[in-house]
């Protein structure tokens, strides 16, 4: 267990924010649930032991904030089938153990597939420049990472480079979660750095449509506490709006240069997010203009070859989807910390560093 003791730079402020939060939640006179959609927020909450400071009546739930976790099974299958064709796959390390229908990329690698771990889309291009082999960037991540993929596509990559995009777009999935039958979510905490690209204005329409407030917060423990104080205050007022508590990185309009590159290369289209639902406009795919760098257009990928396989027995018991939808938490899962551990994960939430299950496993989860 490597949970570090509290390292607030300003513990007095933390105590005062926690007291304010408790007072506000008391004032509501009922339990309330809010959701954040960022693995880094959950890491900070768990690492700094913030849940022990949250009022019992306030449920702070991690939603679908882990891009690797929501990469759907057929998307993993596409990468596995490409690797089986002898194509070199360059991808982020978190993707290796994510289960596909039959195999993960790690399995494909064990069977002789060429998989290269990268930390930046740029490194996939560098790899392609050094070889004559076909290199496919299996690109995962939300819009913050997709802009980097867009930038390398726009920067004349070599002809043996292409992209298998599993990039996802966060705003539409917030709509899905807010509309889920029986949803208890009364407010969203949005991630500061993702909003750096999109800007805070993108959440205004969402608030109007769903009547649920959004607060943009940073990753420092006190940023998160202050964000929750603001969020509960907005719930109490009953006048939902967007509040930007991270102005040092987030403006109303966001990073326009980055947005322009993002939408020049990608279009949003509907698709399944693993375990959650079909999300209209939730997937980022290459525009037709970039068909020459689209691995789906360049290579035959026959997913039907996998249709005869039944999913592994344990996978049927995984509740990762319900966890990301905020309906259940890892403690409700009979596999958590038993059959399902980071070394041998059953579901994607135990694979990624941003998955709720892996974060809870590592930092010890919720205080009793």
């Amino acid at each position: 267990m490597s949970a570090t003791p509290l390292q607030f730079r300003d513990p007095q402020l933390a105590r005062s924010l926690a007291a304010t939060l408790a007072h506000l939640v008391d004032g509501l006179g009922r339990p309330a649930a809010v959701m954040h959609v960022c693995g880094s927020h959950e890491q900070a909450i768990a690492k700094f032991g913030l849940r022990s400071l949250f009022p019992k009546a306030l449920d702070v739930i991690m939603g679908p904030g882990c891009p690797v976790c929501v990469t759907d099974v057929p998307e993993v299958d596409e990468g596995v089938l490409l690797a089986a064709q002898g194509v070199r796959i360059a991808t982020f390390g978190d993707m290796l153990k994510v289960p596909g229908t039959v195999r993960s990329l790690a399995d494909a690698q064990a069977m002789g597939g060429k998989i290269d771990i990268i930390y930046s889309p740029k490194q996939a291009v560098d790899l392609a420049r050094k070889t004559t082999e076909e290199v496919v960037l299996f690109a995962t991540g939300f819009e913050t990472t997709a802009v980097a993929t867009a930038a390398v596509i726009l920067d004349s990559p070599p002809p043996n480079f292409s992209v298998l995009s599993a990039h996802k777009y966060i705003p539409p999935v917030m709509e899905i979660v807010a509309e889920m039958p029986g949803s208890r979510i009364e407010g969203f905490l949005a991630a500061g750095h993702a909003a750096t690209i999109t800007g805070s204005a993108i959440f205004e329409e969402f608030v109007e449509r769903h009547g649920v407030p959004v607060v943009i917060a940073g990753f420092e423990p006190n940023d998160i506490l202050a964000g929750l104080v603001e969020l509960v205050e907005l719930i109490r007022e009953g006048k939902p709006r967007v509040v930007n508590m991270f102005p040092r990185c987030v403006t109303r309009e966001g990073n326009l240069a980055a947005q322009q590159q993002l939408w020049r290369v990608f279009r949003s289209t509907g698709g399944r997010w693993r375990g959650i639902a079909h999300v209209p406009n939730g997937n980022l795919r290459l525009r037709d203009e970039f068909a020459h760098v689209d691995a789906r257009k360049r290579f035959p990928i026959d997913l039907a070859s996998l249709w005869d396989y039944a999913p592994p027995a344990l996978a049927g018991q995984c509740i990762c989807g319900d966890i990301m939808a905020g309906i259940r938490n890892p403690r409700d899962c009979r596999l958590f910390n038993r059959e399902c551990v980071p070394e041998n994960p059953v579901g994607a939430c135990m694979v990624s560093n941003e998955g709720t299950c892996k974060i809870w496993h590592l930092y010890g989860g919720v205080p009793a």
């Binding site: 960022c38 890491q43 930390y119 740029k122 913050t144 930038a151 750095h193 420092e220 990185c249």
Partner: protein, 90 residues
């Protein structure tokens, strides 16, 4: 992954900046950042790209958080993510 990592710009050529991350100098692409970047500025790097010039008044606060995050060992998820962000540069 969405955490990013701050660094100090040491030199700028057209599309790339040399950036110092806790004593390690790396190249970061400037394609995405929406403001001019000059030596002495701090930027937020994500997967090898500067996504934001950090306003000077926020630099100390931002660095303090990352100082704390980098104190963890290799099994710590946040420490690992910050190190991976530095590894994303070239």
């Amino acid at each position: 992954m969405c955490l990013g990592v701050p660094g100090r710009v040491v030199a700028v050529n057209e599309f790339t900046a040399t950036v110092d991350f806790w004593g390690v100098r790396k190249d970061v692409r400037l394609d995405i950042v929406d403001e001019p970047v000059a030596p002495g500025d701090y930027i937020l790097n994500h997967v090898g790209f500067a996504i934001r010039r950090i306003p000077p008044e926020s630099v100390a606060e931002t660095l303090a958080l990352y100082d704390a995050l980098l104190e963890g060992d290799d099994t710590d998820l946040m420490t690992g993510d910050v190190r991976a962000e530095i590894a994303g540069t070239s």
